[in-house]
């Protein structure tokens, strides 16, 4: 982290990929730090991205920490800053500060089965976990990836298809809107024993999927998710991401369901 925590590093966009079209389009960016060392990150951490004149927004770092040359961000077009990102061209320079937040305890998961459940752009925060686990495939048991979205478009489609054979991939597999129901596919393939489940997506989806996982016998300590409370400073000062005694930008965004249950439901 820099001395002045509010001063972004400059970084160049070196690759832009279209993921999903439409009103809430999603694009993936590879960003390389300019004239500076950049920073190391861990799975689950995020960065504050800037477009000067528009502002800042917090985005998960979607690349594996094993990738050093660039950081990957997958951004849904929603408001002021994300819209400006969607208008960028390769070669444009943006601001980036971080890394912020805690990370997934992936070291502790070696030897376990991993189940990843992503909804919409919520696949981005868990993508570094998936790619890191695939890079160290032998260290883990069964790996399952479930992805569903409100629209019919699937982000990272080619990358997800490429996982087949090494992981159990279900696109549109987990119908999260059937709240409370441990849906068909999942029931057959997911077992709680020696497993860790990571869920990420819209708040309503997270809540219903966690219910499903509990019904499948997952203990609270076996379920992980990330909170996406509104953030501005990223360093525990501006108060915006405050939930109970935590500033999510510092203590989160990664929580086990056991930890999350101790916080007030303000996410």
């Amino acid at each position: 982290m820099q001395d002045n925590v509010y001063l972004p590093q400059l970084a160049r966009v070196v690759r832009i990929a279209d993921e999903v079209a439409g009103e809430r389009a999603i694009k993936t960016y590879h960003v390389e730090p300019l004239d500076s060392a950049g920073f190391e990150h861990a799975c689950g951490q995020c960065a504050m991205l800037s477009i000067f004149g528009r502002g800042e927004m917090m985005i998960s770092i979607a690349s594996s920490p094993l990738v050093k040359e660039y950081k990957q961000f997958t951004i849904m077009r929603t408001g002021r800053v994300s819209l400006a990102f969607h208008e960028l061209a390769v070669g444009d320079v943006v601001g980036m500060r971080g890394p912020y937040g805690n990370s997934f305890p992936i070291e502790a998961w070696r030897g376990k089965n991993l189940v990843f459940i992503g909804g919409g752009v919520g696949l981005a925060p868990i993508w570094p976990l998936i790619t890191t686990a695939m890079a160290q495939r032998g260290d883990f048991g069964d790996i399952g990836v479930f992805y569903s979205t409100r629209s019919s478009s699937i982000m990272y489609r080619a990358e997800l298809e490429a996982l087949r054979g090494q992981a159990d991939v279900h696109l549109e597999g987990w119908r999260t809107h059937q709240a409370g129901v441990a849906a068909g596919t999942a029931e057959q393939t997911v077992t709680a024993e020696n497993s860790v489940a990571v869920v990420c997506g819209p708040p309503a989806m997270i809540k219903s999927v966690i219910q499903n996982l509990c019904q499948l016998g997952f203990a609270d300590e076996q379920i992980f998710t990330t909170l996406e409370n509104k953030m501005k400073c990223g360093v525990g000062k501006c108060g915006r991401c405050n939930v109970g005694k935590d500033y999510v930008c510092v203590k989160g965004p990664v929580y086990s369901w056991a930890e999350l249950k101790k916080l007030p439901q303000e996410y």
């Binding site: 001063l7 004149g53 108060g239």
Partner: protein, 344 residues
């Protein structure tokens, strides 16, 4: 360091500090505010409408300026504050106690360079309250006192014709040394008079938050209480309660554009508040604190539960400003007492 200063020498002391910027309470358009002191400093004020919080954490602060020709890398110029040393006179003990609380926030986890660049330059000369300056004061029930020197550099106590001046920090000692010849040694009789004045001040009745030590657990137990919605019904979400508070520190960060080609502008921090409906609203429209009840609960719980859980102290110093300033009469003392009573 404990000394006596005759009241007619106060202005001389201030003159001896002339290499610093001096602020003191002044009445402007019917409002008491900390202003650059002229020749004479007035310490006969009730309390200022706003605390001196803005000296370290101004309502608007430029982080850096940027300039960018389209397609090229931007030029960033950080604007860390370059401020002269300042001494603020007439700080009430409740506002003094806000200082270590703000220091905690702006140093916990990482240091905030803008806050500290200003904060290191401010010295606080306090004045003990012999009468509660507002009918809404409740400092004593939240661990403070009308004669507390917490967070101050010098505490003055009015002894009639003279001030009893006690330095409570190295900075305070240096301030008194700058006017050394103006001060007299304090005698035992002066100390006895001081103790009498302080005892009398402590005996003056104030409003009270009941059983503040029990609040963290009572608030925790009341999280889902329907009482919050009821107590917040009148709230118009104006945020005055937090903008007047010496310990509220929430802020927003935005870009202000001043030119288009090349693109020019500034990244600016401004005060913000958890009492605004969109404070926590996600871009999707999902809002973790949708109604005013949830927002009142956040303000009160942050002060009396969450901050306490993190730093073992309440984040309210009992200045009463949020009570006096609220246009619809939402009163933190009665809110806290009602919630605690319902929690049993």
């Amino acid at each position: 360091m404990e000394k006596i200063l005759h009241k007619e020498r106060l202005d001389d002391w201030i003159a001896a500090l002339s290499d610093r910027e001096i602020l003191s309470p002044a009445l402007e358009d019917g409002v008491w505010a900390f202003r650059p002191a002229g020749a004479a400093v007035r310490l006969d004020y009730p309390n200022t409408t706003q605390p001196p919080k803005g000296l370290a954490f101004p309502q608007r602060e430029v982080f850096f300026s940027f300039e960018q020709v389209k397609g090229e890398a931007p030029l960033l110029r950080q604007t860390l504050p370059q401020v002269a040393q300042r001494v603020v006179f007439g700080v009430r003990p409740c506002d003094g106690r806000a200082v270590p609380r703000m220091d905690k926030v702006f140093s916990d986890h990482v240091e905030d360079p803008y806050y500290w660049a200003r904060r290191k330059q401010v010295a606080y000369v306090g004045l003990a309250c012999q009468q509660p300056p507002s009918s809404n004061c409740f400092c004593q029930s939240v661990g403070g006192s009308p004669v507390s020197s917490d967070g101050l550099d010098v505490l003055l106590t009015d002894l009639g014709e003279r001030y009893f001046a006690a330095a409570v920090s190295e900075t305070g000692k240096a301030l008194m040394m700058a006017g050394e010849s103006l001060f007299e040694a304090a005698t035992d009789a002066d100390r006895a008079q001081l103790q009498g004045a302080h005892a009398a001040a402590l005996a003056r009745p104030q409003r009270a938050v009941r059983d503040p030590d029990a609040l963290p657990s009572k608030l925790k137990a009341s999280f889902d209480s329907p009482l919050w919605e009821e107590l917040a019904r009148a709230c118009i979400g104006c945020g005055i309660c937090t903008f007047l508070c010496p310990t509220c520190h929430c802020f927003d960060i935005n870009d202000e554009v001043t030119g288009a080609a090349p693109l020019k502008g500034k990244r600016v921090r401004t005060w913000d508040t958890c009492q605004f409906p969109d404070f926590t609203m996600h871009t999707s429209g999902h809002n973790p604190r949708e109604n005013s009840g949830a927002r009142l609960r956040q303000r009160v719980s942050h002060k009396f539960q969450y901050f306490h859980e993190n730093f073992a102290m309440h984040q309210c110093t009992g200045c009463g400003r949020c009570v006096t300033g609220c246009p619809v009469g939402i009163d933190i003392v009665s809110v806290v007492n009602k919630v605690a009573e319902h929690a049993g």
